[in-house]
C-alpha cells in the first residue's frame, strides 16, 4: 500500500469487483426509481395513461396536507419507541453472548431463538396480536380483568398511545434478534487476541466492552442505525395489517400514506410519488447527519484497526 504506482495498478481492479452490482441495478432498479421521480412532477392518477407536468405543485400541496404531516410524526414516534429499546437489548445480548468470561449455559439455543419472531410473516404476526389485544373478549383483556387489574375490558385499539405502543412493541420484538445477530457477527469478527491481552491486563467486562468492543463495532452500529432508520421510515406491514391507521390516524405511517394514495381512493400516483421523493430526501438528510455524527472518515478509521 506504500508505493504509489503499485497502488494505482491494483486499484483499477476495484471496478471489476463492483461492476456486477451496478450493472444489475441499472437493468432492474433504475427504471422504477426514475419512473417515481418523474411522476412526482406530474398529475398522473386513476386510469389515465397520459399526464402533464405541474412543477413543484405536488410538493407544496403535501406540506399543506395535515394527514401527511401527521403520518410523518407517527412514523418517527413509533420508530423511536421501538428502536431505542431494540438496539439497547441487542447490544446487551450480543455482548453477553460473545463475552468469553460469562460462560452462559445454553446460549446457543438463546441466540437461535431470539431471531425466530422475524421468520413469521407480518400478516400472521398482526393477526396474532390483533386477537391477543382484542376488545372485549381478547385473552389480554380477560387476563387483566380476571386478575382484577382492570374492572372492565379496555379497548386498546381505540387508545392512541396503546395502539402506537403495540405497533412499536411488535416491531421491537420482531427485529431485536436480527440486530443482535448482526452485532454478534460483528463482535465475532473482532480478533480474539485483543480480548485476550485485555483480560491478561485484568480489565473488567465493562471496560473491555466500552474500550474494545464498542469502538470496533462502530461501523456495524452505524449500519444498524442507518438500516433501522430506513426500515423504520418505510414501516408498513405491521401497522397496516394490524390497524390500518386507526385510531384516528395515529398509526398511519408515511409508507401507508403512500400506499393508500397510490392504490386506494382515486389512485393518486402523483401524490404517492411526491411523498416517496420527500421521504427519500428526509432519509438522506438524516443519514448524512448520522454519518457526520459518527465521523466515519474511512482513512482515519482504517488506521484505528491496525
Amino acid at each position: 500500500m506504500k508505493s504509489r504506482s503499485s497502488k494505482l495498478n491494483y486499484d483499477r481492479y476495484g471496478y471489476f469487483f463492483i461492476a456486477p452490482f451496478f450493472i444489475v441495478f441499472l437493468v432492474f432498479g433504475l427504471y422504477s426509481m426514475v419512473y417515481t421521480f418523474n411522476l412526482s412532477f406530474t398529475d398522473l392518477k386513476g386510469w389515465n395513461r397520459d399526464y402533464n407536468y405541474v412543477g413543484f405543485k405536488n410538493f407544496v400541496d403535501l406540506f399543506h396536507n395535515p394527514l401527511f404531516m401527521k403520518s410523518f410524526y407517527n412514523t418517527f414516534i413509533i420508530w423511536i419507541m421501538n428502536f431505542v429499546p431494540q438496539i439497547t437489548l441487542a447490544i446487551i445480548l450480543a455482548a453477553m453472548f460473545t463475552n468469553p468470561r460469562l460462560k452462559l449455559r445454553g446460549q446457543g439455543i438463546f441466540k437461535v431463538l431470539f431471531y425466530l419472531p422475524n421468520i413469521i410473516t407480518a400478516a400472521s404476526v398482526s393477526v396474532l396480536f390483533y386477537v391477543l389485544f382484542n376488545h372485549p373478549t381478547g385473552p389480554i383483556n380477560q387476563l387483566l380483568v380476571n386478575f382484577g387489574i382492570l374492572e372492565e375490558p379496555y379497548n386498546f385499539f381505540r387508545d392512541k398511545l396503546a395502539s402506537r405502543s403495540i405497533v412499536a412493541f411488535i416491531q421491537f420484538w420482531m427485529w431485536y434478534g436480527s440486530n443482535m445477530l448482526i452485532l454478534i457477527a460483528a463482535m465475532l469478527g473482532i480478533s480474539p487476541s485483543l480480548y485476550e491481552s485485555a483480560m491478561v491486563d485484568g480489565a473488567s467486562n465493562t471496560k473491555i466492552f466500552f474500550k474494545i468492543t464498542l469502538p470496533l463495532i462502530k461501523p456495524i452500529l452505524l449500519y444498524n442505525l442507518i438500516t433501522s432508520l430506513i426500515g423504520g421510515t418505510q414501516m408498513f406491514d405491521i401497522p397496516f395489517l394490524l390497524l390500518g391507521g386507526a385510531p384516528d390516524y395515529s398509526t398511519e405511517t408515511i409508507a401507508m400514506f403512500i400506499y393508500k394514495q397510490a392504490f386506494t381512493g382515486a389512485n393518486n400516483y402523483y401524490i404517492a410519488s411526491a411523498a416517496s421523493v420527500v421521504l427519500f430526501l428526509v432519509v438522506i438528510l438524516l443519514s448524512a447527519i448520522i454519518f457526520k455524527f459518527f465521523h466515519m472518515e474511512p482513512e482515519r478509521k482504517r488506521k484505528g484497526v491496525k
Binding site: 400541496d61 394527514l67 401527511f68 382484542n134 372485549p136 379497548n155 391507521g245 392504490f263 381512493g265
Partner: protein, 431 residues
C-alpha cells in the same frame, strides 16, 4: 478460483435454463380463454358446469383464482399497462364501479356484446344497475343476488317480545328508532343479558344503502341525512349499552352467535350458510342456537357482497367470453342446478320465481328464506353506488366509531371525515 467461477457459471446457466423453460411453457397450440376471479365459485362453475355442458370447446379455459385482498393490486397494473389482462374477470360489489368506469371493460349493451336486453328483462334491477357506467352503458353481469336481512333468535323474540313470527318481529325492527326502542326493551327485560346486536358495525351497510344521495354529486361531496342518523343510532346503541361492543368478524362477534347474548345479526343471503350455520353451535359443544333462528327484512333493504363478471375490452376472444358470461347469467338449466347444489340466491328473477317454492330451511325453524329474499330483492336500489364507496365508507367508519365511543364531538368527526375525503380524492370539492 476455477471452482468458484464454474460454480457461478453453473448458477447462471441454471437460471437461464429456467427462464427459457418458462418462455417455452407459454407457447400452447390451443387458444386460451383466461378468467380471473377472487372466489373459487367461478372456478367451480367453469369446471363443473360450463365445461360439462360444452365438452367440445375449441379452446381452453384457464381460471386464475386470486385472493380478494390482493385482487385489485393484481388487476391495476395489468389495466394501467394494458398488457397481460384476462379475457373475463370477476368483480366484487365493493369495488366493481371503479373498474366499470375505467374504460377498459367491454360494453354489454346493444352497441357491444349485446346482452343488455336479455339481462334487463330477466334480472333484478339492482344487479344490472350496479354494472352501469356513468355513461349508462352496461359492462357486467352476475348470476347471484345478495340481498341482506335481519336474522334473529326465535326463542329470545318469544320470551321478550311476545312473538317469534317474522311478520310480528318485523314490527319491532321496522325502522331505526323502533329498533333502538326494541333494543332497550330487550336490555331491560333481560337485566342486561340480551343485546339487540353484538356489534354496531353490523349497521353501517344498512345505512349506506338507505341513503338517497350518492357520495359525490357534480364533483362535490354530499353527506346524506342518513349519515347523521347512523352516527346518532350507533351512539345511542353504545351509550345505552345495547350491544356487546364487539367488532364485525372478530372472535366475540362469532362467539355471540351460539350464546344467548345477541338477539340478531344483519347479514346477507350468504350469511346464513357461511356465517350463522357453522357458528350456531359453540365450538366446544356447550351451547347451541341451531334451528332457533328466523329472518326478516329489518329497517331498510340493502345488499352486501356479490360477484359480477366483466369482459376485457381489448380481449381477442370477446365472443367466447360473451358465451361464458351469458351461460353463467342466463342459462336456466345451469342456474337451477347451481341454486339446488349450493342454496345460492340467484339474480335471475325468472328462475327465482320458478324455484322459490322449493325451499324450506330447518335452521330457520322451517321458514322459506328464499321467498323472503325474492320478495325484497326487487326493492334494492343500487343507483347511488359509486366506485369510491369502499374508500369513503372506510373513512367514515373511523369517524363514526370515534363519535359513538365519545372520543370526538360530532362536528369534529364530520370535519375530520371531510379532511380525509379531501386527502384521498383531491379532485372532489369538499365544503
Amino acid at each position: 478460483m476455477k471452482r468458484t467461477k464454474k460454480m457461478s457459471l453453473l448458477i447462471l446457466a441454471l437460471i437461464m435454463s429456467v427462464s427459457i423453460f418458462a418462455g417455452c411453457g407459454k407457447k400452447n397450440e390451443k387458444k386460451e380463454l383466461v378468467v380471473w376471479t377472487f372466489t373459487d365459485e367461478i372456478e367451480k362453475i367453469v369446471n363443473n358446469y360450463y365445461k360439462k355442458d360444452h365438452p367440445d370447446l375449441p379452446y381452453d379455459i384457464v381460471v386464475r383464482v386470486i385472493p380478494n385482498e390482493q385482487y385489485q393490486t393484481k388487476l391495476d397494473p395489468v389495466f394501467s399497462t394494458g398488457k397481460g389482462a384476462p379475457d373475463v374477470f370477476a368483480l366484487e360489489g365493493a369495488y366493481a364501479k371503479k373498474y366499470i368506469n375505467s374504460g377498459h371493460l367491454a360494453s354489454l349493451s346493444a352497441d357491444g356484446l349485446n346482452l343488455e336486453g336479455e339481462l334487463v328483462e330477466e334480472q333484478y334491477p339492482y344487479v344490472v344497475d350496479m354494472m352501469r357506467g356513468k355513461d349508462g352503458v352496461l359492462r357486467g353481469a352476475t348470476f347471484q343476488a345478495t340481498p341482506g336481512a335481519f336474522y334473529y333468535r326465535r326463542s329470545l323474540a318469544e320470551q321478550y317480545l311476545g312473538t317469534s313470527d317474522p311478520a310480528g318481529v318485523q314490527q319491532y325492527v321496522k325502522d331505526f328508532s323502533t329498533f333502538i326502542a326494541t333494543g332497550e326493551q330487550l336490555n331491560i327485560q333481560s337485566n342486561g343479558k340480551v343485546k339487540i346486536v353484538s356489534s354496531f358495525s353490523d349497521l353501517y351497510k344498512v345505512f349506506y344503502a338507505a341513503r338517497t344521495s350518492p357520495w359525490i354529486v357534480d364533483n362535490k361531496l354530499v353527506i346524506d341525512p342518513k349519515i347523521d342518523e347512523l352516527m346518532e343510532t350507533t351512539k345511542a346503541l353504545q351509550e345505552k349499552k345495547l350491544t356487546n361492543e364487539t367488532v364485525e368478524w372478530s372472535e366475540g362477534w362469532f362467539a355471540d352467535m351460539s350464546g344467548d347474548s345477541a338477539f340478531g345479526y344483519f347479514l346477507p343471503t350468504w350469511g346464513l350458510s357461511y356465517v350463522l350455520k357453522p357458528n350456531a353451535k359453540k365450538a366446544d359443544g356447550s351451547t347451541t342456537s341451531e334451528n332457533d333462528w328466523a329472518v326478516t327484512q329489518g329497517p331498510a333493504p340493502y345488499f352486501s357482497g356479490g360477484t359480477w363478471l366483466s369482459v376485457y375490452d381489448k380481449s381477442n376472444m370477446k365472443e367466447e367470453a360473451k358465451a361464458l358470461v351469458e351461460y353463467i347469467t342466463s342459462n336456466e338449466g345451469f342456474l337451477k342446478s347451481w341454486a339446488k347444489d349450493t342454496g345460492d340466491f340467484l339474480s335471475n328473477k325468472k328462475v327465482v320465481e320458478q324455484i322459490k317454492g322449493d325451499f324450506k330451511e330447518d335452521f330457520l325453524g322451517g321458514q322459506n328464506h328464499y321467498e323472503l329474499f325474492a320478495s325484497h330483492a326487487g326493492d334494492i336500489d343500487a343507483s347511488i353506488v359509486s366506485g369510491d364507496d369502499g374508500t369513503i365508507g372506510g373513512l367514515l367508519s373511523e369517524q363514526v366509531i370515534a363519535y359513538a365511543l365519545g372520543e370526538k364531538q360530532k362536528e369534529q368527526a364530520i370535519e375530520d371525515f371531510k379532511l380525509a375525503v379531501k386527502n384521498a380524492f383531491p379532485d372532489y370539492q369538499v365544503e
